[in-house]
Symmetry: C2
Subunit: 257 residues, 2 copies
């Protein structure tokens, strides 16, 4: 049987340690091709490049440290997946994995996440897809403890198939070695970012802002991703791109429209 | 009773005819403040500006043609809403309306939509919100026929309250005057864009791509937004930012994780 073809992408860029770790874990499971942004794309949400040119470059790969083929792309994570599926890959991949993100994409962060937008783009195009994130923003984050868990989730996904219209959002708690308690299937916790704009004045006298914020958890349910992470578990949230709020349709039909 | 405070934003930029039309419709319903991008931001999805500075400029407003206050912002649609709520508005608005977009945001387009990302950002922050789009990409699109319908939807939203965690995605068919048949509450149709990358070579000899595509409708249900639009109705889809695919949780719990 042919090895599965695994497309690896991310939003931190092709040189990010999290992507390099994911490539190494995936090489034990199948044939790996990387198509990833040439520069960091965090917070890009599901942006795509409509009014600008897209460049893609085939990288020289030293196979000891890389995939079968690697391409960098000047676009967003969603662009990378579109370009990979349409132009760069010889056949449809068996799975697309995105990450490992340097930082959390749990709870409401999924909405802003470039990592998840890549996975969701693959899902929309009918490719089983998973986004992986480690709750540690450091470039020197330790991706070793999560390796076997990530391999397990990918193996199970290849074996069982991810349900149609569903993409997996996997977040790994920041722990010391052997500190992960297991994997929990969860729902997305309700939360919000309380923005704080740091207002400054540039050397030309013009005001500008930096966007900063504090995470505000509004949900203490023990079936949520935030709870699982707080207890040292990896959270796995099935995520969908049908955004219809079905429960609200009946109520809206009572309006005088 | 105080007039409602209405925040108007969009993704086509503060000078777009669709936004100017929306401002005019909203001025009949309340006090209007505009915070909108200083340049077009289509296809931005839910991008936010994390690693760059944000500029905002208060505009000179001729009230005959404008709102009470207007601000342009160098960021994305989601940035505009964050900045408006946190820094620019004196109180929390009663509603946020985004648009009128020049082009459809029905079906899977909601995922890529800057218009809807602004509305969703407001929804996340607890502000009732609606995105409006006209299925006509032209800068000279005719926004007159949809005016009374948009006012009706906003009035009903202010009166009844939009359900918690729900944001409305409203799309208006392209029609001649009097050609709109009414408003239908719908679900998001399943669809996809079949990408076509137009590959070219720049004057320096380097290959690049333009992203183009064809809309592929995968769903002919008569309860969908695409069906309503095809029949000359305005589609109204309740949209949520809890992306959890609840129906898949049980199945994933049978995996060997």
């Amino acid at each position: 049987m042919a090895k599965p073809l695994i497309l690896v992408t991310n939003d931190d860029g092709i040189t990010a340690p999290g992507l390099r770790a994911l490539v190494n874990y995936m090489k034990e499971l199948g044939d790996v091709v990387v198509v990833a942004p040439d520069s960091p794309q965090s917070g890009m949400g599901h942006a795509i490049t409509l009014d600008n040119t897209l460049y893609s470059q085939k990288m020289q790969v030293d196979f000891d440290n890389g995939a079968l083929e690697e391409y960098s792309c000047s676009g967003t994570p969603a662009d990378c997946v579109k370009l990979a599926l349409q132009e760069l890959l010889e056949r449809k991949p068996d799975i697309c994995v995105s990450g490992i993100n340097h930082g959390s994409n749990s709870s409401i962060n999924v909405i802003y996440s470039g990592t998840m937008s890549a996975a969701i783009e693959a899902g929309i195009e009918g490719v089983p897809a998973i986004g992986f994130s480690l709750c540690d923003y450091s470039w020197e984050a330790n991706f070793v403890p999560c390796g076997p868990y990530i391999q397990k989730i990918v193996r199970e996904s290849l074996e069982n198939g991810i349900p149609n219209g569903v993409v997996l959002n996997v977040n790994v708690p920041k722990t010391e070695d052997n500190g992960i308690n297991g994997i929990k299937v969860c729902r997305q916790a309700r939360a919000n970012w309380k923005e704080k704009f740091d207002k400054r004045t540039n050397p030309m006298g013009k005001d500008y802002y930096w966007l900063t914020g504090e995470f505000e958890l509004l949900d203490h349910g023990e079936d949520t991703d935030e709870w699982a992470l707080s207890q040292g578990y990896i959270s796995l949230v099935p995520t969908q791109f049908d955004l219809t709020a079905y429960h609200a349709i009946q109520q809206l039909n009572t309006w005088d429209l």
